[in-house]
Amino acid sequence: MPSQSDTPTGWRPRHGVYWLIIMPALAMLVLLYLVPLADVLVTSVTDPKPGLDNFLLLFTSTSVQKTLLTTLRIAALTTFVALLLGYVVAYAMRAANSSQQRLMLFCVLLPFWISVLVRSFAWIALLSSRGPVNAGLMAWGLIDEPLPLVRNETGVLIGMVHVMLPYAVLTLYANMRGIDVRLVAAARSLGASRFQAFRMVFLPLTRPGLIGAGTLVFILSLGFYVTPALLGGGKVLMIAEYVAVQINDTLRWGLGTMLATTLMLSVLAALWALSRVLDVKRLFGA
């Protein structure tokens, strides 16, 4: 075709240019992320000898099982508490006027800018037996002995909920903002009390938000390392720390990578299950 030469055939070269531009980022991703990840997967079935022996430990080793159970329990509790508190905050944000909303959003996002490390030490200081929380409670005469709030599971839970709360609030708030307030008004006009309108109309409509926020918080909680290590006082061993110990101290690479792989596969499975019930993209506002 004669006309082809005079059409502005920028298509091919320009396409190539795009590839060139994203190349460095892509190369970094492959080299620093995908390759090590593949290495982890391979190591989990080859070290110390090829086979699924490492994965068998999931069913035989009590220490592995105990760590997994602790991890699941703490992640579940964190999710529950974060959802409960997050729901209240998101609900209040939705009801507030726009200047209050901005202020609340700022407060919710504030912890994001403070390192988890700093926050953990701050919690230790606050919650220790001579910290301001216990001191205050004793001064008021509410308790006689300091409560064991830190260096145990309670401390881990408090710290983790604090970190997870913004995720829960933001996801729930995004969902709640999409709910037509007139539906609640309609329910009231049809004879529902405030509570009935909430329970029968509003709450069911926030189900996608609850599932989404719940999954997000649960998945993120599974991999927590710094917070349980510091606030648990060495007594609360979650899977991430267990993996670190295997790799750094006992040098059992096979076991460590197996647990990492298990964690990753569980997360992927959870996401897949979630995508079956929900439109994940819409949930996160994409």
């Binding site: 037509d180 539906l183 004879g191």
Partner: protein, 364 residues
């Protein structure tokens, strides 16, 4: 304004509502709704129709005044205790429930037994001609069908009063007309009281027993559609309902219900004066375009003037003439398309006139 029956179902007594404390969204409202009546609140955008309705429903509290339903002061009764059904403009169907569950909602919150609930829902569904749609989700219905579900949901608990806020606003013309008919039919069959909001005057005329016309928060007139059209009490109402020719004039003298007024161009006109105005005050003389007599017919009328035809538009059922008269060029005449109707050509000089009772002297 005459009150329709001795004991009205709804009574607004001196109700005022201000959202921000400076501007009144509704002011000095005194309005009664009779039992079994279909009353329409009509008015331009922002005139306070929705505000009036939401105060009656219980979503907003009047800044001043009281609202009575069935003789009981409901001003401080919460929404859910008022027993008033409401249909919203956007339908407000619950997306997490099926059609049947939506309709059952008001019964469920009232603790109605399952058996009774089912039979009532079935009856409501067939009342709005949606038998067999009970298991669908609202999102799976067309706009008109969703509208009908909303109506069924407001009817099912047999409220003493149903409020509808521009319920047909989102529908296309044809569906609108069909739904107007269906709603009116339901109203007659169920003998229920309905208060309806619209800014469409044709819709108001079609459906209502009486129409309440609002402008900028004030109730201007409440009357039967026909009287509202034939006997508007103000220039606003005359202009808002149908077309009018309005000629500025000054009152010269009045006696009883009529007056003589002088036009700016000097002619004196005799007109009906529903609201008494002192001699010397400015009024508008309002004549409907279809009441104008032309040519020979005009010569016999008491009010007779010279005019020239500027434009002729044939509209099928009627012909519209635009005339140059009284120093302006926007005098409108409508002629019904009847047998033997004369035809007119632009540029023709012609006599126009009207009967004294067809002309009303109205203040702003």
């Amino acid at each position: 304004m005459l009150s329709p029956v001795p004991e009205p179902l709804v009574r607004f007594a001196n109700v005022r509502k201000s959202y921000d404390g400076t501007v009144d969204a509704v002011s000095a409202l005194n309005l009664e709704v009779a039992r079994s009546e279909f009353l329409t609140l009509l008015g331009p955008s922002g005139s306070g129709k929705t505000t009036t309705l939401t105060m009656l429903a219980g979503f907003e509290r009047p800044t001043e005044g009281r609202i009575f339903v069935d003789g009981e002061d409901v001003t401080d009764v919460p929404v859910e205790k008022r027993g008033i059904g409401m249909v919203f403009q956007n339908y407000a169907l619950f997306p997490n429930m099926t059609v049947a569950e939506n309709i059952a909602f008001p019964l469920r919150v009232r603790g109605v037994s399952r058996g009774e609930m089912n039979s009532k829902v079935m009856r409501a569904l067939s009342m709005v001609r949606l038998d067999g749609f009970g298991d669908r989700r609202p999102q799976q219905l067309s706009g008109g069908q969703q509208q009908r579900v909303a109506v069924a949901r407001a009817l099912v608990f047999e409220p003493r009063l149903i409020l509808l806020d521009e319920p047909l606003g989102a529908l296309d013309r044809q569906l609108r007309e069909q739904m107007q008919y269906e709603l009116k039919h339901l109203h007659q069959r169920l003998d229920v009281t309905m208060v309806y909001v619209t800014h469409d005057q044709v819709e108001a005329m079609t459906m209502s027993d009486r129409v309440a016309v609002f402008s900028t928060g004030a109730l201007r007139q409440v009357d039967e559609p026909r009287r509202l059209y034939e006997a508007p009490a103000s220039l606003f109402v005359a202009r808002f309902l149908g077309e009018s020719n309005a000629l500025p004039a000054t009152v010269r003298q009045h006696d009883g219900g009529s007056c003589a007024a002088a036009l700016a161009t000097g002619e004196t006109v005799t007109a009906v004066m529903p609201v008494r105005c002192a001699p010397g005050s400015a009024v508008h003389l309002v004549v409907r375009p279809e009441k104008i007599l032309l040519g020979k017919a005009a010569q016999a009328s008491p009010n007779r003037f010279a005019a020239r035809i500027a434009e002729v538009t044939f509209l099928g059922d009627q012909t519209r003439l635009r005339l140059v008269a009284f120093g302006a060029d926007d005098f409108i005449v409508k002629l019904a398309n009847t047998a033997g109707q004369e035809t007119f050509a632009p540029g023709t000089e012609i006599d126009i006139g009207w009967q004294a009772e067809d002309c009303r002297a109205l203040a702003e």
